[in-house]
Each structure stands twice: as C-alpha cells, then as structure tokens.
Symmetry: C2
Subunit: 365 residues, 2 copies
C-alpha cells in the first residue's frame, strides 16, 4: 500500500521532494509596465501575442509560457507526462486551444483565479504519487477576453468601481519533477548557453513540500465588482485549515501570499484570521497588490485572474526563494466561482482557495 501522504482534514504532504524544474511568466503591456517587469520572461506590447482575437491571444500566450518553462527545464514537450491547465473562459477555451498545439497528455482544471494553486497541487501529486516523473502546471488570464466574458466588451468604455480588480494579462507555467527528473534537467541544461536553467540557482533548489485543498465557501456576497470580498473567507478558511493540519503558525512562513484578494479582500482576510487567533499582517502579501503600481497604474483594488498569481509566482516569488530572501512561503491563490450566467441570475459568488508550500532547499543533497 502507498505511504500515507495526507495530514489533518484537508492537507497533503510530499514524502520526497517535488522540485521546481522550469518556470515562465509571459505578460501583456500593462503588467510589463508594472513593478515586477524585470521578473517576466516575455512582455508583449500589443497584448495580442500574434493572435487574431483576444481568445486566440490568450491561447498563444499560454502556449508560449508552457513552452518556455519546458525549455528552461531542459526538456522537450514530449518529456512532460501531464499538463494541468486552466483559465477563466467558458469551457477552458484558452487552455484547450493552447494545449492542442502541444503533444502532452492534457488535464483541464478550473478553480477561477485559484487555478494555479489547483493545477500546481495536482501536478505535484502526479509526481509525488509516482504517476509522472515530471508534470507541468500552467494557467492564464487576459484582460480583454475576461472583460468580454464577465463584464462588458472594452469598446463600451464602462466605469469600474473602486473595489474592482484588473484582470491580469499573463500566463505562468511551472514544470515540476522528482529527483530523477531534477538530475536529468541539470544534465540537459548544464553547459548549454542557450538554456537558462531553472532547476538549481545559487546552489539551491525550490521544492513543493505540501499543500491544503480548499472547500467552496459562500458568504453570500453578490457583488461581482468586489470579488476580494467573495474570496477572502475562502482564503482565510484554507489558511486556517493549513496551519491546523500542519500544526504551524503564520511565523513558520516568511510570507503568506494570497492570489488576488486586492486591497479590500486582503484586509478582510487578515481580519477573519485575526478573529481565529492567527495574526498574519506581518507576513501577508497579495499577488494582486504586487503586480501593479496602484497609484500610477489606476487598477483600483489590484490585479486578478488566473494569470495574476501564476506570473507572480513564476517570476517574483520564486526568485525571492532562490535568492534566499525567503526560506518558506505559503502560496494561496484565490478564486471567485462566478459565471456570467450565475451573476446575471443574481446568485451569490462562492469563493475557493488552495494553499501550496514552497521552500528553499540547499542543492546537491
């Protein structure tokens, strides 16, 4: 029988390390003008990525991120055993068409803006359970395709309330693998000037050591221009479950980084956890607040979308781990489970969030 790899009520842990082998962040113009500019692999000033329309643009962007991460891991697409991918569009339009160009077994996932958490956990489970030596997680969102899907076409020029977030045009991808894949990745990238190897930097690796799977949480919020408030209870619930399952406190993490709660949601998140006895203010960050300069870029409550946490992780957050600024972080992408239909029917907007532990590990052990 398999070794038990679950703990507490909602969490999983990896007995062996799951290594980050490759990573890529591809973004649009606005994100490229933001404070994380230097952490991205590619910035497309046209937001079109060579596509014919916004959906096509998103598919191409996603495919580009997936391909760059595979290349930086030193692999070819055929060496990736499973691709976990998702986006915000109905029927995963961007991922399905993007994945169609790649010869990789495909598993579509949907968790709204929490999708990077879900796909990264599933890819890690595939590797940790022995079902793949390496697997990839990739998610995307595009401002223009999301506005068309959920709100109003850009041409309408409608106004946005201050609680609204700005959907990130970006796709983030991570290739994860086991020890054997790590060694192959090192061998295949070593000495190659063409490949900027990701698997080991500054003599360290980054590993995924566990995670907590969230439940759908519905506080009855109905305002689709205030998704931070819809998602904050789900984020707080999964962080609380995580800390309880692993017998940890917020101080065990250098940072606890939510996906895209934005200004409004991040405050609610800290408040709820505070009421439960967990003070997170000192370690709290939010990808939606990191990705734009809210004063200069007029994004109101911050960034959002499947791409928001994905590109922030693949770029900025992992860099901080490799550089040693942080030793261990809890990455908590958050999703608002609304659809255009449910929103127009006046339904509530349930939230979901998943938590992933990423930590720095001295290489060569």
């Amino acid at each position: 029988m398999s070794e038990q790899r679950y703990v507490g009520a909602q969490s999983i842990c990896f007995a062996e390390d799951i290594y980050v082998l490759g990573r890529a962040a591809v973004v649009g113009k606005k994100e490229g003008n933001g404070p994380l500019r230097s952490f991205f692999d590619e910035i497309d000033e046209t937001d079109l990525f060579g596509g014919e329309n916004w959906n096509d643009a998103e598919s191409r962007m996603m495919q580009k991120a997936a391909s760059i991460a595979i290349r930086k891991a030193g692999f070819t697409p055929k060496q990736i055993r499973m691709l976990f991918a998702g986006d915000l569009l109905g029927q995963l339009l961007a991922s399905s068409f993007g994945a169609g160009e790649m010869p990789i077994p495909f598993l579509g996932v949907y968790g709204a803006c929490s999708t990077m958490g879900e796909s990264l956990l599933l890819a890690s489970m595939a590797v940790g359970g022995g079902f793949a030596d390496c697997a990839e997680a990739v998610t995307s969102s595009h401002f223009a395709s999301a506005e068309k899907e959920f709100r109003f076409p850009l041409g309408y020029g409608n106004q946005r309330p201050l609680a609204a977030t700005w959907t990130v045009t970006g796709s983030g991808a991570l290739v994860v693998g086991d020890k054997t894949a790590l060694e192959r990745s090192m061998a295949q990238t070593e000495g190659s000037e063409k490949v900027d190897a990701d698997a080991r930097k500054n003599g360290v690796e980054v590993v995924i050591s566990g995670g907590t799977i969230g439940r759908v949480t519905d506080y009855g919020v109905k305002d689709k221009a205030n998704m931070g408030a819809c998602m904050a209870p789900a984020a707080a619930a999964v962080v609380e479950a995580h800390l309880r399952d692993f017998h940890r406190t917020p101080e065990d993490y250098d940072k606890i980084i939510t996906g895209d709660l934005g200004k409004v949601g991040a405050e609610i998140f800290a408040d709820i956890l505070g009421q439960k006895g967990y003070q997170v203010n000192a370690v709290q960050e939010d990808c939606g607040l990191l990705i734009y300069d809210n004063e200069l870029q007029d994004t109101h409550s911050g960034g959002s979308g499947c791409g928001c946490s994905a590109v922030t992780l693949a770029g900025y957050l992992l860099d901080k781990l490799y550089e040693g600024e942080w030793q261990r972080i809890l990455f908590v992408p958050t999703g608002a489970l609304l659809s255009p239909v449910s929103a127009n029917e006046g339904s509530t907007i349930p939230g979901i969030a998943h938590a992933v532990v990423l930590e720095r590990k001295k290489g060569g052990r």
Copy 2:
C-alpha cells in the same frame, strides 16, 4: 522515492487496488424512460430536481448523486478527502454551486464530456498516490442547461440534424478508496438495512487498475451538430496509446466503451482503429448509444454530455462487472472542446478522451 506508476508514453497503473466503494446515477425523465431505467438510483420526472432554473436543477442533481454515492459507500461527506467534479457549463457553474453545499475539499475539472474519465483518474491517482484514503468523482450535464449554453433556448424549438446527439440530463458519482477505506466501508454498511452497500457485491469488488490520459486532438471538424466526428479521432488515439502502453489488444477487454461518440462517431472510431491494425467492432460499445432507445426516443445520433458516460458507468457498466458478465472493461469518455465563443468564431472543435481500466476482483483477498 515513490514507486513508479507510469507506463509507456501516456499511461498510469495502480500498484495497489483502487476500489469502487460507492456509486450513484441520478437522471431526468427521458433517461428514466430509456433502456437503462432499472440501473438508476433516482429519476426526476420534472427534470428540475427541486431547483428554480435549469442551472440550479443541475447543481441539485449533481449534489444528489454525490450524496447518494457517499451514503452507499457507508461514509459521511466529511470522510471524503477530495471531490473531483465538473460539468459542461461555463466556469463549472453546476459543480461549483453543487459542491458548495458539501464540506469536501473541491477540485474542479473540465474535459467536456470526457470529464468523468478525467475526474475518475484524478480521484484514483489521489488514492493510489497516498494523498487520500477515499475520494469522489462526480460529473453532470442537463439537456436544458446545455441547450441554453451551446445552442438555442428550448423555447425556440429549433430543429436538430441527424448527426446531433441529445445531452443527457444526469449526474453520475463514484467514491473510490484504498484497502483501508474498503474495510471501513464494509464495516460501516454491514448489517445496515438502510444502506445498500456498493463496495462488495456477489462476493466481488470492482477495482480501477490503470488508465491512459489523452491529448487534445484536432482534425479540423467545425460542425457542432456532429460532435461524434470531432471526438472520434481523440478516442481512437487514446485507445491506441493505451493498448500500446500496456501491450494489450482489444481482446484483452470484454468491452471498450466510448463516452458519447454516437452512431456517426462510433463508426469513425472503429474505422480509425481498424486502419491502425486494431479491430474493435466485436467489443465496442458507446454510452451515448446505450442510454436511449434511438428508435423510440428520437435522439438521432444518441446521448452526450458529462452525465452520459457517468450515469452509464455508475449504473449499467458497473452492474455488469459485479454480476460477472464482464471481467475487465476499458471506459473511454470522450469530450468535444468547444465553447459558445469558439463555435461562433468559426473555430475547429478539438476532441479529447481518457481511458480508465475497471476490472472485477474476487473479494476478501
């Protein structure tokens, strides 16, 4: 390091058995009037399942199937560690709202009508990898919500071409678990008159022993009224990959059962495999052709939808295994990756399919 549980290019196998512990099929009126009537747990003559609209109806149907399967496994919802669920609606509307009523860590998946294959494989991987002692896979589709999403609202009374399939109103759920969960399930259901135990029937268990994950396959078909033709190449490709990876032939299976290729697609599927040297005609079945009486029920090319293969599996197919009519089957749900947007933009309709091996095992070993 984990034991290697992958084989060939696209397949996975389970070293230890993954047991089917509970199962449920909940359907609407038309399905209840079809040839599989006696295999369903619940039939709602109103198709509304107590809901206020078609989306709500689908959520309630999904929740009902998930709950019945858990009860028949002898468990409570809190004992299920992960719920893998998906449906056809944009942003997984039915699953998200259905899952919101249940206290189970939730992972949304999307593979169009192949979703039962994907969610069942992921649930089995979660158990087989040691990340859960038991997990649930549930998918749903609803004729009325799907017509509204993809074609025309019912009130328009539009005509359907002969190649079109009929979206099944149904939700199928399977609880799967490891040996420990099997023993607990047996203990919790034994002697209880209220629980119609699923885990062991006629002294046998049904186990999931492996599977093959499909790639997105695009033959350039654009006709959304002929989804069988879109999906058949993907189904043939995954079956070919499966037989190659496991060094098997079609004769190693009592049945190879595709999801919802329908009449048109099933012929294309057999033709493609024939050209590759695999004769499947003798063992081929299609859930879309099993679920309705096409002569009496006027469904043209057969049934389709995430619910089609799910209820056929949870009801009819598993019964045949427990009863000993079949020893081993290959269950191959098939999906057409179209969205209303992609279809209206004139895009092709890529297909995907996943293969799951289910086999009968004498109990008590």
